[in-house]
Amino acid sequence: MTELKYYFIRRVLTFLPTLIGLTLITFVVSVMIPSNPARLWAGGIKANPEVIELIKKKYHLDEPLYMQYYYYIMNLLRGDLGTSPITHRPVILDIMTYFPATVELAIVAEILVVIIGVPLGILSALKKDSLADHIVRVFSLVGVSLPIFWLGLMLQWVFYYYLGVLPAGGRGIPPKVKYTGLYILDSLLCQDWNAFIDNLTHVIMPAFTLAYIGIGVIARITRSSILDVASADFVVFLQVKGLEKLKVLKHILKNALVPIVTMLGLEFGALLSGAVITETIFYWPGIGRYAVQGINNLDFPAIMGVTLLIGLVYIVTNLIVDLMYAAIDPRVRL
């Protein structure tokens, strides 16, 4: 099992250059921003030239690029993502306020993807070429073609406007005690059932909107993965050995799991980017909505902060997925 440990270490080491690359890109992008940030932060066109000079000095804007990058990294390590010229608060604080909401949304969506997508894929594979299989296939195709914003709006129309069973948007009421910031979990932990139900009804539409594409993709990947494995030689040998059907299925599923798990990990990143739009439609107070407001208000530090954070979460998720992959498939550890 030590080879697993070595693989872990090696993988984490390659993580670092990617991390650096990430900061490089966000840095490059942020210096591409055309307008004069110093003037903007100083209050726009009416800004006092002396104030602009002060800001320039403070943010090292007059120094060469590589020095700016150095300061950028130093700030990052200290957790300083700049100050929003709009809210006049440190961006990091704003993000920390809104991040848990997005995490909650993404987790619920990921759960939906797993509990709906995977079984659909298994069903599709077991009943290959049947009507059920074709329906799932069409469902997936439709899923990846739907604009998220449109799906969200249509769901709002059906469940809020027409049927009136779900709220139009916003987050549920906070539970009595906050442990993690994830309201559903917290209300469960302190047994605040009122808050629990309220949060469920609020999260279900945005989470489903977010999950829809992922469900389609995972169903297809699950199906093709299982079919690929089922036609492998070792599966015949398992039958030759006289194993029960259930046991054979266990072997097939474990082998099929690898691409599925990889996809689920990548899915989480897609969910985060989808959150940007979903939160806007459902007035969900997460970092996605914060970023869109930033776009409308030209709040560049906010936008860059969110970009960096989502990128970070994405590569960490990929790292975890790779490690899980190695835990399942021993051949990868070489």
Binding site: F149, W150, S273, V276, T307, G311
Partner: protein, 307 residues
């Protein structure tokens, strides 16, 4: 060249490539046999036609304001209803098709060639060149697409042109990966070694020998990506990047309609529906092409035909 000479040139080319032409014909036939692929083809052709002639056949001027018919539901006069300025949404949608098509074409015209060329070089030469290109690709792929597109669009100013550049930057890495993978699997084939042995230059081998053999998955991906680009561009417009009012880009239309939702549902419904159908068309078509090129399925259909 005289017409006669041209004709004989075409004839000779036809004879020389008879087998290839037969294969392409078979691909088309296989595609039309699947109802899903056929629907995809029809939708895409419809989309192209609308994009081409839409602006000429639109019943109203998409920018024409008429306060007498503000926010009216769908009617024979206005099939998709009107917006808050009294503009005919149907006409606006028709004009929007062209915008989406242009965005898609330009974006892919930049990202596909860049991606394929880098992939060819990376796969063919291997070694340090490969490492560098792959690291670069990984850095770009470290972001979920939409996020990177947002960041780049914002940084570059936010208009439609910048959106196209931003989207190209998001899409090219996938083509590098795909092409490189294909090149690696084909590189070991004998004909590449043979070509090298004769002394053919690297670029000649890459473009005249390797590329034609690996182009099919690229075509499949590009077809599906056409839908993906249109979808992402619409999403960007929706959150405020890309087309500015009064440009009738489809995503922009949905954003414009959002404040009036859900009472004035048509404003959001029709543009969104059109986006959905168009993207669906491209995905079905791409799927259909992929299935048609898949050797197992092709031969099955071929045998069915021969009876």
């Amino acid at each position: 060249m005289s017409l006669v000479a041209l004709k004989s040139r075409v004839e000779r080319w036809k004879v020389k490539n008879k087998a290839k032409i037969e294969e392409w014909k078979l691909t088309l036939r296989v595609m039309t046999m699947s109802p899903l692929a056929l629907s995809g083809l029809i939708i895409v052709v419809l989309f192209l036609i609308i994009a081409a002639v839409g602006p000429y056949v639109a019943p109203h001027d998409p920018y024409e304001i008429d306060f007498r018919v503000m926010l009216e539901p769908p009617s024979p006069e206005h099939p998709f209803g009107t917006d808050e300025y009294g503009r005919d949404i149907f006409s606006r949608v028709l004009h929007g098709a062209r915008i989406s098509l242009v965005i898609g074409i330009i974006t892919l015209s930049i990202s596909v060639p860049i991606g394929v060329i880098l992939g060819l070089i990376s796969g063919y030469y291997g070694g340090i060149v490969d490492e560098i290109i792959m690291r670069l690709t990984d850095i770009f792929l470290a972001f979920p697409g939409l996020i990177l597109a947002i960041a780049l669009s914002v940084a570059l100013g936010g208009g439609i042109e910048t959106v196209m550049v931003a989207l190209s930057m998001v899409w090219w890495p996938y083509y590098v990966r795909l092409t490189r993978g294909q090149v690696l699997s084909v590189k070991e084939n004998l004909y590449v070694e043979a070509a090298k042995a004769i002394g053919l230059g690297d670029f000649w081998i890459m473009f005249k020998h390797i590329l034609p053999n690996i182009i099919s998955p690229v075509i499949v991906l590009a077809t599906m990506d056409m839908g993906g680009v249109i979808l992402t561009a619409a999403a960007l417009s929706f959150i405020g990047l890309g087309a500015r009012p009064p440009t009738p880009e489809w995503g922009r239309l949905v954003a414009d309609g959002q404040p009036y939702f859900p009472e004035y549902w048509w404003y959001v419904f029709f543009p969104g529906m059109v986006i959905f159908l168009t993207v669906l068309g491209f995905n079905l078509l791409g799927d259909g092409i992929r299935d048609a090129l898949d050797p197992k399925i092709r031969r099955t259909i071929e045998f069915k035909e021969r009876g």
